[in-house]
C-alpha cells in the first residue's frame, strides 16, 4: 500500500480503501465475540432457575410458557441465529426481567455512559498536556518528582476505591455533591435541574479524569523526554528558535503521536473502568447495567451491551489509528 505522505493524501483514495478494509475486518471480530458471549452466557446458567429461586411456588407450565415466549426452549445454535437475524434488523430483544424491549432502554444507557466518558477523556487529555510537557522539560526536578508520583498514584489506585473515598468525604461528610445517580430523585441539587445534572457529574468525572490523567501524563512525559533529546531539537535550539516554539510546535507534535496510539489502549481502560465507576456511583449507564444484567443472566441485555461496547472499542481504535497517520506521515497504512 502507498505511504500517506501529506495531508492531501490523508483524504486520498488509499485512505478510504484502508478505512473500508478495517471496517470489513471488524465483522469477523464482532461475530466471533458475539458467539463467544452467547455460548458463555448459556454455559453460565439458566435464567429460569433464577425465577424458580425467586418464586418457589411457580408451576412448570408457567415456566414452559416463559421459556417458549423468550425462545429459551430452542437449541442454542437456533437461538443464536434468531438473535443474529433480529439484531441485523436492529432489534435487541426484550429484557428477561420486566420484558421491556432493550432498544428502548439501551439508548439511555448508552447516552449516560458516553456523556461520562467523553467529558472525562477530553478533560483528562487537555489537562495532561501542559503538565506532562512541564514535567518533561524539567526532568528530575522537585516539581517533576511531585508530578510523577502524583500520576503513579493515579495508576496504582483502584478506580472504585477512589470513588468510595470521594463519596465518603464529599458526599457523606461534607454533603457538597450527591453520592449516586445521574439526576436528583428526592431533591434537586444546586437549585436548578441543569445544575443538578452537573452536580451529579462532578464526582464520577473526577474519578475517571484522575485515573486517565495519570496515564496520559506518564505517556506524554516519557515521549517528550525522548523527543527533546533528539538531534532535530538540538538543531532547532542551535538555530535560535524560542524555547516555547521548540517545545510546543516541534517537540509536542512528535511526542503526541505515540501518546495518541496509547490513548486507544487508555480508551479501553476507561471503557473497562467505567463499569466500576458507574457501579460505585450507581450511574445509570451501560457499565452498571451490564454488571447487574450479568448477575441476573439477562441474556438480551448483556448481549446488546457487549455488542455496543465492542463496536465502540473497535471504532475508537480505528479513529486513533487514523489520527496517528495524520500526525505522523511516515506511518504507512494498509
Amino acid at each position: 500500500m502507498s505511504a500517506v505522505s501529506n495531508v492531501k493524501g490523508f483524504f486520498g483514495s488509499s485512505m478510504v480503501k484502508y478505512v473500508i478494509k478495517r471496517l470489513i475486518y471488524m465483522l469477523p471480530v464482532l461475530i466471533g465475540i458475539s458467539i463467544l458471549t452467547f455460548i458463555t452466557l448459556h454455559a453460565a446458567g439458566d435464567p429460569l432457575n433464577i425465577i424458580r429461586l425467586g418464586r418457589p411456588t411457580v408451576d412448570q407450565a408457567t415456566l414452559d410458557a416463559v421459556a417458549a415466549y423468550y425462545g429459551l426452549d430452542q437449541p442454542i445454535p437456533i437461538q443464536y441465529l434468531t438473535w443474529l437475524s433480529n439484531i441485523l434488523r436492529g432489534d435487541f430483544g426484550n429484557s428477561l426481567f420486566g420484558g421491556i424491549p432493550v432498544n428502548l432502554l439501551i439508548g439511555n444507557w448508552f447516552w449516560e455512559t458516553v456523556k461520562l466518558m467523553t467529558i472525562s477523556i477530553v478533560l483528562a487529555f487537555i489537562i495532561s498536556i501542559p503538565i506532562g510537557v512541564y514535567s518533561a522539560r524539567k526532568p528530575y526536578s522537585k516539581t517533576d518528582y511531585a508530578i510523577t508520583s502524583f500520576s503513579l498514584f493515579g495508576v496504582s489506585m483502584p478506580t472504585f476505591w477512589l470513588g468510595l473515598i470521594l463519596i465518603i468525604v464529599f458526599s457523606f461528610t461534607l454533603g457538597w455533591f450527591p453520592s449516586e445517580g445521574s439526576t436528583g430523585v428526592i431533591k434537586v441539587w444546586w437549585g436548578h435541574y441543569v445544575f443538578d445534572k452537573i452536580a451529579h457529574l462532578v464526582l464520577p468525572v473526577a474519578v475517571l479524569v484522575y485515573v486517565s490523567l495519570a496515564q496520559n501524563i506518564r505517556l506524554i512525559r516519557a515521549n517528550m523526554l525522548e523527543v527533546l533529546r533528539s538531534d532535530y531539537i538540538l538543531a532547532a535550539r542551535a538555530s535560535g528558535l524560542s524555547e516555547r516554539k521548540i517545545t510546543y510546535s516541534y517537540a509536542l507534535r512528535n511526542a503526541i503521536a505515540p501518546t495518541i496510539t496509547f490513548l486507544g489502549i487508555a480508551l479501553g481502560a476507561i471503557i473497562a473502568g467505567a463499569p466500576m465507576t458507574e457501579y460505585v456511583f450507581n450511574w445509570p449507564g451501560l457499565g452498571r447495567t451490564y454488571v447487574n444484567a450479568t448477575t441476573r443472566l439477562d441474556f438480551p441485555v448483556v448481549m446488546g451491551i457487549v455488542m455496543i461496547i465492542t463496536v465502540m472499542a473497535l471504532l475508537a481504535n480505528l479513529i486513533v489509528d487514523l489520527i496517528y497517520v495524520y500526525l505522523d506521515p511516515r506511518v504507512r497504512i494498509g
Binding site: L152, S156, P158, A222, Y279
Partner: protein, 319 residues
Amino acid sequence: MTSKKEQKNKNAKRRGASQWAVAWRRFKRNRAAVVGLAIVLVVVFLAVFGRFFAPYPSRPDPGAFEPFYKGDVRVPPNSEYWFGTSGLGTDILSEVIHGAKYSLYVGVIVTVITIGIAILVGSTAGYFGGWVDNVLMRFTEVFLVFPALLFILVFVRIFTLTAQDPFLTIPLLNIRIPMGLTIVIFVLAIFSWAGNARMVRGEFLRLREREFVEAEKALGASQSRIIFRHILPNILSSIIVVASLTIAYAILIEAAVSFLGFGDPNTTTWGQILQENFADMRIVWWAAIFPGLAILFTVFGFNLLGDGLSDALNPRLRD
C-alpha cells in the same frame, strides 16, 4: 537472592561488570526504585509471616469472628482494633494482613501465566512472520480490543459456580489453596496476555534481523535454539519490567472483580473486604479506607519497582 548476587558480583570481577551487576548498581542509585523494592518486600513479609502476628486468624477459621462474639461489631479504629471491625464482626487489621498473601498469589500466578502465553504467541509471531504473524496478531487483537472486564465477570461467574471444594490442601506444607480464587486467576490470565504478547513480538521483530541471529543461522543452529538461547535472553530485561507491572495490574483487576461481587467468597482478598462493607459504607468508613490503602500501597510498590527496573535495565531510555 543475595547469594546469587554475590555470585554475579564475583563473575563481574572476573570478566568485567556483567549486564546485571551494572543494572543493580544503577537500580540502587534510584531512590524511588529502592522504595518500591522495600514496599514489595514488606508485602512479601506480610504474606509469608502475617499469620504469626495477625491478631485473629483468617476467614474460614471461626476464630476470625471472635470480635463478633464479644459484641464488637462496627467498632471504629481504637487501641484494641487498630483498623476497626467490620459489619460482620471481623477485625479489619487481621483481614488486611491476611489479604497480602492472596494478593501476591493473584499477582504472581497471573503474571507467570500471561508471560508464558505472551512468550509463546509473541515469539512465534515475531520470529516466523508472514501469515503466522498475521493470524496470531489478529487473534491477539481480539483479546486486546474487547472489554476484558466484562468477559472476566461472565467467566468467573460460570467457573466459581462449578468449583466443588473451597480449598485444596497441599499435604506436608499445610498450605491451603483457595480454589475459587485460583479460577479467578486463570480467567484473569486468559484475558490479560495480549498486550505482553505484542511487546514480545515487537522485540522479536527487532532482534531477528540482527547480526548475531544471522551468524547463528549461518552456523546451522536450530530454530528453537535461536529463539530460546539467543533471542529470548536478549529480551529478558523487558520481560522482567513487564512482569512487575503485570503483577500490579493483576492485583488491581482482581480487586475490581471481587468488589463487584464476582470474587471467591471464601477468601478475604482486599477487594472482597471492600465488597462486604460497601452497603454500610456510610457507617463503617474505616472498612472502606484500610483495605483500599493496602491495595494502593502494594500496587504502588510494584509500579515503582517496575519503573525502576525499566530505568536500570534499559538505560537508553534515560539520560
